[in-house]
């Protein structure tokens, strides 16, 4: 087993915007963390606010924001989930578990450098360490040693020289240790276990056993939320669609990373914009095929928002989407026909995003004798009706006139750009007694201009144009 510890060393500060002047985060009248400028005045965590203000009169303070820290840790856990499905959330970092031979990148050094790269890109202050036990990895990271220890290395020996400060001991135990002159982990490990239990209690011995791997680690693993939701507030409200597109592109980048990590796709999503005047507008997008490509998602949003003029400046934009499991294989393995179908679904998605979902229609057959009901239009793609397939009737016109157009009748002969000659018919349609009774005699008619028409007569001298044989 291998454990990778990621410790955010400045988590309380991380959730506040960076400042140029001395700044400290406070909880319960005590400093929790302070920035480099404040450290220059000799401030450190643990000082009281009164002492800190005496040392540095220009100090500005912020109250610790636990909720924001949790959100940040969730983001970190989602990032870590891309490397291992076994992520443990800690109050100031995450632990990732790997089996010895199933690390996603193989080489542990490469793994650590990948994680380091990702964290540096995200801009966190952090320490990472890899060790065969969770406690050892955490201790190593807490001590600021970027160690990469595998079971083949003499890691138990290396552990001995680390200071005790990195171990999660209670203050009473810590004080007792320093009184006994125990400063390093090795000093504590050398003591007989029975005596340690009597002196400090069972917990310390259990911790040491977990540290050296004599006792297995039991942990609750983090389960990712089944939704993606990201809100971006603008420091200054924006009105141009370029600024909005820029913000959306940033969200999409994060989103795609989450989708990749989770092997998920998007089947639909909602973009919500909050206006300065308090109003809001949400745009729902539905995809006919689940998608993971950031460029496709971005193009859908761009197409929809191209002609969008907000009534007032936008203060925040939120993207939320349920994550769908990717059931399909990867693209190049598809047969050509399937690949083309995916391509066509992409086209329909783009058309729907720009023109509205009701403007792309599919046709299907429906078993009904009334021609206006035999053809159905619906949103694309349209599943065929249940039951036996509808009878395909030849002799139906290409275009339907819906509703039918009443024809002028002169001397008993219907007229449409001239008198009609009935070429074929009648075909009696008598149905619909349950909802809308119809008794019609259909004819194929030809007018002097050689247009072939489909007309029906439903009562004496009452003629209608139903379609064109175009």
């Amino acid at each position: 087993m291998l454990w990778l510890a990621v410790v955010l060393t400045a988590l309380p500060l991380e959730v506040f915007a960076p400042r140029a002047a001395a700044f400290a985060v406070v909880w319960d009248k005590t400093l929790v963390d302070c920035n480099a400028q404040a450290q220059g005045y000799g401030l450190a965590a643990g000082l009281s606010v009164v002492q800190a203000c005496a040392l540095c009169p220009s100090l500005s303070l912020g109250i610790r924001d636990r909720a924001a820290e949790e959100v940040l840790l969730e983001g970190l856990a989602a990032f870590a989930y891309g490397f291992s499905p076994h992520v443990v959330l800690r109050p100031d970092g995450v632990l990732l578990r790997f089996t010895d031979n199933a690390s996603p990148v193989g080489d542990p050094h490469l793994l650590v450098s990948r994680v380091t790269q990702g964290l540096e890109d995200a801009g966190y202050a952090f320490e990472v360490a890899l060790a065969p036990t969770a406690v050892a990895a955490w201790l190593c990271a807490r001590s600021g040693v970027r160690g990469v220890w595998t079971p083949k290395d003499p890691w138990r020996l290396a552990l001995r020289s680390l200071p005790l400060a990195g171990l999660p001991l209670t203050d009473a135990v810590r004080d007792a240790c320093s009184a006994l002159g125990l400063a390093r982990v090795g000093d504590l490990l050398d003591l007989p276990r029975a005596g340690l239990t009597r002196r400090f209690g069972r917990e310390v011995v259990l911790l040491l056993e977990r540290l050296t791997g004599e006792r297995p680690e039991v942990a609750d693993f983090w389960a990712p939320a089944p939704r993606f939701r990201r809100r971006l507030s603008f420091p200054h409200p924006v009105e141009t669609d370029e600024a909005l597109a820029f913000a959306l592109a940033r969200i999409v980048r994060e989103w795609v990373a989450v989708l990749r990590a989770r092997e998920a796709r998007v089947g639909g999503f909602v973009v919500e914009m909050t206006y300065e005047n308090g109003g809001s507008r949400s745009e729902a997008f539905t995809l006919t095929r689940p998608e993971r490509d950031g460029q496709v998602l971005m193009r859908l949003m761009r197409d929809r928002l191209r002609d969008f003029r907000p009534p007032s400046a936008i203060t925040a934009v939120t993207v939320s989407a349920p994550l769908e499991a990717a059931m399909e294989g990867s693209l190049p393995l598809w047969r050509d026909g399937q690949w083309r179908e995916q391509g066509f679904r992409g086209l329909v998605d783009r058309l729907c995003a720009r023109l509205g979902p009701e403007s792309v229609r599919a046709l299907s057959l429906y078993p009904d004798h009334r021609p206006e009901r035999a053809a159905r239009e619906g949103p694309w793609p349209m599943p065929g009706p249940e039951g036996p397939p509808a009878r395909v009737l030849a002799d139906r016109p290409t275009w339907l006139v819906d509703p039918p157009e009443r024809l002028e009748v002169v001397g008993g002969v219907p007229r449409f750009h001239g008198p009609l000659r009935l070429a074929r018919g009648p075909e009696r349609v008598e149905t619909g007694w349950w909802d809308e009774p119809a008794v019609r005699d259909y004819f194929v008619a030809v007018n002097p201009g050689n247009e072939r028409l489909w007309v029906f007569c439903c009562a004496r001298d009452e003629w209608y144009l139903q379609g064109y044989f175009a």
């Binding site: 391509g343 819906d402 247009e451 072939r452 175009a470």
Partner: protein
């Protein structure tokens, strides 16, 4: 070897390969195939169709080729003038699952939808109806049809000024068929013909 070819040989003239014939798909009407360059509807050309009225067989002229294309690709119909009758299309062999009817609200949206259809590799054919279109817009669509290598057909009213198309057919009613005039085409001009439907 002809004397001309011998003369070229002596003078050391290097002759390039003859231009490859453009891909075509048979129209389904042998008479019409014989009149079209290459023997069918050309790919990558936005074919301009001018029908004098509805109901003269203007769609029946296209249905064989559309049915063939719908079997492997998808069809996009943009802004048809009437409601298509699904049973009739199915009877003519069109795969209804492979047909999407797009009803844009404005002319600008229609142009955008046509260009999206022309550039999508999954689409077999694009059929579009316009009440009016500017020459410039037609040229852009024509270029995109060539770029995407799609079969595409554009129905325009009969009395509109000629558009800068590479193939224009004027359709008029005739008893037992449709009278087709190839008003503009590649190759030598041909006389109007009556296609029996």
């Amino acid at each position: 070897m002809t004397p001309l070819a011998e003369a070229w040989e002596r003078a050391g003239v290097r002759r390039g390969a003859a231009p490859a014939a453009a891909a075509v798909i048979p129209t389904g009407f042998p008479d019409l195939d014989g009149c079209l360059e290459g023997g069918g509807w050309p790919v990558g050309v936005l074919t301009e169709l001018r029908a004098s009225r509805a109901g003269i067989g203007e769609m029946r002229l296209l249905l064989p080729v559309l049915a063939a294309l719908s079997r492997e690709g998808w069809l996009v119909w943009i802004a048809p003038p009437y409601r298509p009758c699904a049973p009739a299309l199915a009877a003519h062999g069109i795969v209804l699952d492979h047909l999407a009817v797009v009803r844009p609200r404005t002319h600008k949206e229609a142009l955008w939808a046509v260009s999206q259809g022309l550039l999508s590799p999954a689409v077999g054919a694009v059929v579009t109806w316009f009440a009016d279109i500017r020459d410039q817009e037609f040229r852009v669509l024509q270029r995109q049809a060539a770029e995407g290598r799609r079969w595409s057909f554009c129905f325009l009213p009969r009395d509109l000024a000629p558009k800068p198309s590479r193939l224009r057919l004027v359709l008029e009613s005739a008893p037992q068929g449709v009278r087709v005039t190839l008003a503009r085409k590649a190759g030598r001009p041909v006389a109007p013909l009556i296609v029996a439907l």
